[in-house]
Symmetry: none
Subunit: 213 residues, 4 copies
């Protein structure tokens, strides 16, 4: 076994270790928020010695920043792969609504991570010079669709790309992130399959009517 194995031992693999820490940190930070997360817990989850975490990332704050950046990179990468050019601009916007919702559902950690960062007034993101770079494509996509929609006359001409992006995110993000208090307040399970489906429909309908010329 040892003789034939050309692979490095997993226990001594720099990248694999960093990756394990990444994943563990993403999970724990999302679950507990930055302040609630415990470095010990992340180390245990990542099955590494606590010191490795400091060796590779420097501090709890820097680890959080790395996880956040990675989270943004991930959603932007998937978003960039959407084939929006074959659709009319208005349909493309609705596809963005759909994508956003699908992404949030598939990556619940993303919204929790962002939420924790906002509770701290984006103190990590504000210090990260890569943030804007990573998210450049995001605003670019919507801006391009808005101008195309104007030419095609499929979208009204007076929309601001930022407001549109925020609204698309808001309708889904808030629902999912706050579904715990909302379910209690409204005495209805906002996490049920039916309610989730209804939510997506409502969101698409809302945006569709808003962008209509």
């Amino acid at each position: 076994m040892a003789i034939m194995s050309p692979k490095k031992s997993p226990a001594r693999d720099r990248e694999a270790t960093k990756e394990r820490i990444y994943r563990a940190a993403g999970k724990i930070f999302a679950k507990c928020g930055f302040d609630g997360a415990r470095v010990d817990q992340i180390a245990i989850e990542a099955k590494v010695n606590k010191q490795m975490l400091y060796h590779y990332f420097g501090s709890k704050d820097e680890l959080f920043t790395a996880v956040l950046e990675s989270a943004y990179r991930s959603i932007r990468a998937q978003e960039a792969e959407l084939e929006l050019d074959s659709l009319s601009a208005d349909k493309a916007i609705l596809e963005l609504v759909d994508f956003t919702w699908r992404y949030y559902l598939a990556n619940p950690d993303f919204i929790r991570l962002l939420n924790s960062e906002n509770q701290m007034e984006a103190r990590h993101l504000k210090l990260s010079p890569r943030t804007h770079e990573i998210n450049k494509s995001h605003i670019a996509i919507t801006e391009r669709l808005l101008s195309r929609g104007k030419r095609e006359r499929s979208i009204r001409h007076d929309l601001d790309a930022v407001q549109l992006n925020v609204s698309i995110a808001a309708l889904g993000f808030f629902y999912l992130m706050n579904r715990h208090t909302l379910s209690t307040v409204f005495q209805r399970d906002l996490g049920s399959k039916q309610m989730l489906d209804e939510r997506l429909a409502a969101m698409k309908d809302t945006i569709a009517r808003w962008i209509r010329p």
Copy 2:
């Protein structure tokens, strides 16, 4: 001695003390989140002995629950005072949008408090039997407006009150709560007077178009 005491009545002191703790806790919990808040800091802010805090509220968790309930009570009380009956149902809904936005702007602690609670999956609210009671009026108002709007033919008939309420809250809440990350991502100050005004306009426009028959 006790009979002739020129000091303020103990009852007065008692309530005043609790009130000070309340306010301080609301401020600190909102600023730092539940996990980030320090009991010591709350006591200092409230200018009371730390023990008083335990005497009146039992624990950090129970204090947080009390603050949350109080926050809900406050928004519901103000909401209930809106004079919506003199307006057509659709205009009344837009007034609700307007009120919600105004309340969030005037009470930034409210959204931060709710956010922290949602990061914890509403673990305090779920144990509080008063939550639904406090928020009953909220859903009732919208439901009544929706049926009136149906009769008046000023609002479409296929809307769900919960989805509507969530959307109204979402469009403003998400914008304000996440403005720190959003400002960084979009390289634009979402807190500027102009952007805030544009946001309210966008929200009203969005909801107006959505509820239109």
Copy 3:
């Protein structure tokens, strides 16, 4: 027992607790140096909870500073009680040599504490505004003796009080502080009664000859 005891419980006595921490810190800092000393060890030695140490002193550094100041205050207080006026100036200087040596022998922690502080280039003392104030009497005593000695013609007129003070301290301090390496280097026990007596004699002889007109 409890009924008749008008004294506060020692476990709840602010000053007594601070005093215990003081003593313990002095002992441990002297024994191990600042960097070698462990806060836990000090707490155990003082029989207090570790947090008390931070409650009363703020940090390991501030505790060290407090101990240092206290050490200086103590030697200066005893020094001030010497009755030097009844002696001729030159005899008074020799009495100072004697006192310094006696104090060092009786308070071995003093030299070790100072030594640790000097290894750190007096970083605590330099930040303490009280240092000079505390030591004012020290230089004053020698300066007064030097001028009296000049008038009496019992001491040469060209001596600098600082150089004199440093030399008096040096001859004893260095011997005691470095006796461990010196004993090894010279293969002789510098801590033996006989060697100590010889040292004092040598010091007095050295200073006596140096100050002679």
Copy 4:
């Protein structure tokens, strides 16, 4: 491959590496003391892998011992090169005072290293069998000078070589090592060129008067 290697001889590398570690360790140990020094920092300063340090020296303690021995060897080597025979014994003693002072000034690490070791009660030196051997010449020089001075009648006959050596070292060592606290206490810069010159003069004067028959 090994035979024709154009690389430097391993022996050269080996010694060069050890030498770099030596120097780095001397610097860091002197600056921070044994407890304050960090093995990592020494490795970085020496530009070697941390493991090399353990490979060549075994432990932080053994490295410190090696550095200490080296420091002693260095001062003794320079001391042995002094040409004292051409001077009268009393002048030779004063030349020793001068040399000691010059060496301390040129090698500030030496006194800091010794100081740290004394704070630890010479625990490294006491275990090192080479210490006495290395320092044999030191006491021998003074002993020879004292007997010559006795014969020459240039030095009094009742002096102990150990006490003399200690005093010579003390007057300079204490001044330099403790100049940080002393400067604060006396509110005078003991490190200034003028004060340093005055100190050397005072030292020579003190010793000259003391050894005079």
